[in-house]
Symmetry: C2
Subunit: 379 residues, 2 copies
Amino acid sequence: MRFSGDPTVFGNLPLDATCEEAVVESLHNRKYNGYCPSVGIKEARQAVADYVSTPTSQVEAEDVILTSGCSHGLEMLISCLADPGQNILLPRPGFSLYKTIAVSLGIRVKFYDLLPERSWEIDLQQLESLIDDSTAAIVVCNPSNPCGSVFSEEHMRDILTTVARHSLPLIADEIYEHFVFSGFKYHSFASLSEDVPILASGGLTKRFLIPGWRMGWIVVNDRHDALSEVRIGLQKLSTRILGPNTLVQGALPRILRDTPDSFYRQTIDYIEENAQEFYRTFRELPGLHPVMPQGAMYMMVGIDMDSYPEFHSDVDFTERLVTEESVFCLPATCFEYPNFFRVVLTVPKEKVTEACQRMRNFCEHHFQPTTVRNGNGCA
Amino acid sequence: MRFSGDPTVFGNLPLDATCEEAVVESLHNRKYNGYCPSVGIKEARQAVADYVSTPTSQVEAEDVILTSGCSHGLEMLISCLADPGQNILLPRPGFSLYKTIAVSLGIRVKFYDLLPERSWEIDLQQLESLIDDSTAAIVVCNPSNPCGSVFSEEHMRDILTTVARHSLPLIADEIYEHFVFSGFKYHSFASLSEDVPILASGGLTKRFLIPGWRMGWIVVNDRHDALSEVRIGLQKLSTRILGPNTLVQGALPRILRDTPDSFYRQTIDYIEENAQEFYRTFRELPGLHPVMPQGAMYMMVGIDMDSYPEFHSDVDFTERLVTEESVFCLPATCFEYPNFFRVVLTVPKEKVTEACQRMRNFCEHHFQPTTVRNGNGCA
Ligand SMILES: Cc1ncc(COP(=O)(O)O)c(C=O)c1O
Ligand SMILES: Cc1ncc(COP(=O)(O)O)c(C=O)c1O
């Protein structure tokens, strides 16, 4: 039972037929076989602009750059915004790609903390203390991988106020946009600020369940022309690999326009049900502290390491879990956050139940109450 | 009349139905929507290995890395083989992307000359004189953009002998592989050497006439384990943007296996006919010196600048040509080779005839015989 970040591996979450039909149409059109502008074809960029625009954040085709997946968008953004020797601020826990990209470019990274006890809100005071003269940008990810958290509007406004104070641009990884459980509301960062220059990155990967198609985008939400140089830089960088597959670009307008709401709802309901089942189970398991997610596809679970003295770390814990019970979860050390592990919520229902059972076995087998272990009655 | 490097723009050179059918099959298969290994899916890599292997250069799936077009492959190769401060040797005239990539990475470039009077063979003596302790790799392009030349087996063996003497790896841009006119034979560099480590880059872009699909590859032809570190580096780099579109990956085995020979032949015959018409015309035009191509999609034409005293340069010449006759050709300054321009050979027949006529007008209008101009009878 491999729980990976790919929602398509088990076949239980198929893509919507709209995507398939749109690609066939694009193919038979025969207009999308040639080179296109490296930032993408106009109609596809306009389709993204229409898709992400809100009443308070209007963008046009020229504000959109199409990329080979969100990863490629993030790579372009980080290399365009920060010079070697400068630093960028990254969330902890957070998606490891940010650091990988930055380090490979000689850009330093500093981590700001997300607080599990506050549904993974940002510790803004600490974030602010990290900013220095060499800080080039702040990366935020909402909804979050690995936390499954969804920021409230209020918290987002606080983040934006903090960032505005330092006149820094925000890189908003919004690959999980709209991916929120019932009762929560998704806001894009761009829709909540008129001052902070925001570079958002999204794509078809998660919401449309087609990561392999490698269709992502960057949306430049410029404010007071703060990003005119960045625009030029991004345009230049885009010429390096000449944009994403044109067949999918040709299909993009139809995909974004015609995918029915019921498709999105179904996916999210499915994942939310899984989240609840995992959460109910883990809450009862000794020495585990799940944090109920609000969106995306993941849940973080804290491990009370004192109660599992056989294991040195979350890495050790998850390794033994896969060896003994064939349940594979990523240790949160992968996200710079030890003593947690991440559960993926896209697995088929029957596997959820089975995994819960095996986790129960595992925990009951290895858990050692700290009082008993200390043996001196003082703990 | 825009003569660009995109063979699809006029619609006269459509893709083969095999490509379309293979993508539809791949789509309906529903196995190619998810993430795949960043170096590509096994079957697709194996298909490339089978496609490029020759009796003297056998490679396997693990020697192949799939990339977002050949551009992406070249970017990975250059950044993996050379460190900032080192230098790489590039052909002159040559495809401008090599320099763009290198410079953006802080890698220095040195140009070795191709000799028009020897059908654009490499000036090997000069090439050798450029090699120093900081030289990290040599880039060769065959068949060539912009020259349309195809190296003979003998010349390729001479190149390989020279390179072997300096124990340097060769980056072989073979995006135009097999794209050779009647009477010429294509050899891959890898098939002619057992000693030189060769990193070849190719793809579907040119031969299959689908540049927008962004499917390229790197083939690692290792020799005496000289490339084991490079393999690791390439694997790491591939994780950055996670490989090309999976639908096309899924289609790749069928495309490479089932595209009929007649398709390739038709394309090449078409282009060769155009080459002949252009060549015949240009040879007769005063002050122009076309070099008959042997493959690829281009022809270089020398301009006797003394005979066109109104123009300062090839850039000037081609600018006026587009202004006055609406015929757009790239000045070869774009390829680091002044006083030439490049003609693209993929245009529809009727446009070739029309372009020839307009070029004739243009040249006859602007040409000034040097003797008359000098006026002293000595020229
Ligand atoms: C937070 C986050 N950003 C970006 C990505 C990369 O998305 P893509 O596959 O579109 O490159 C992922 C994928 O898991 C992710 O979780
Ligand atoms: C010599 C050469 N190499 C590489 C490329 C890039 O190919 P791709 O479109 O597959 O990135 C081209 C495109 O014109 C080319 O002429």
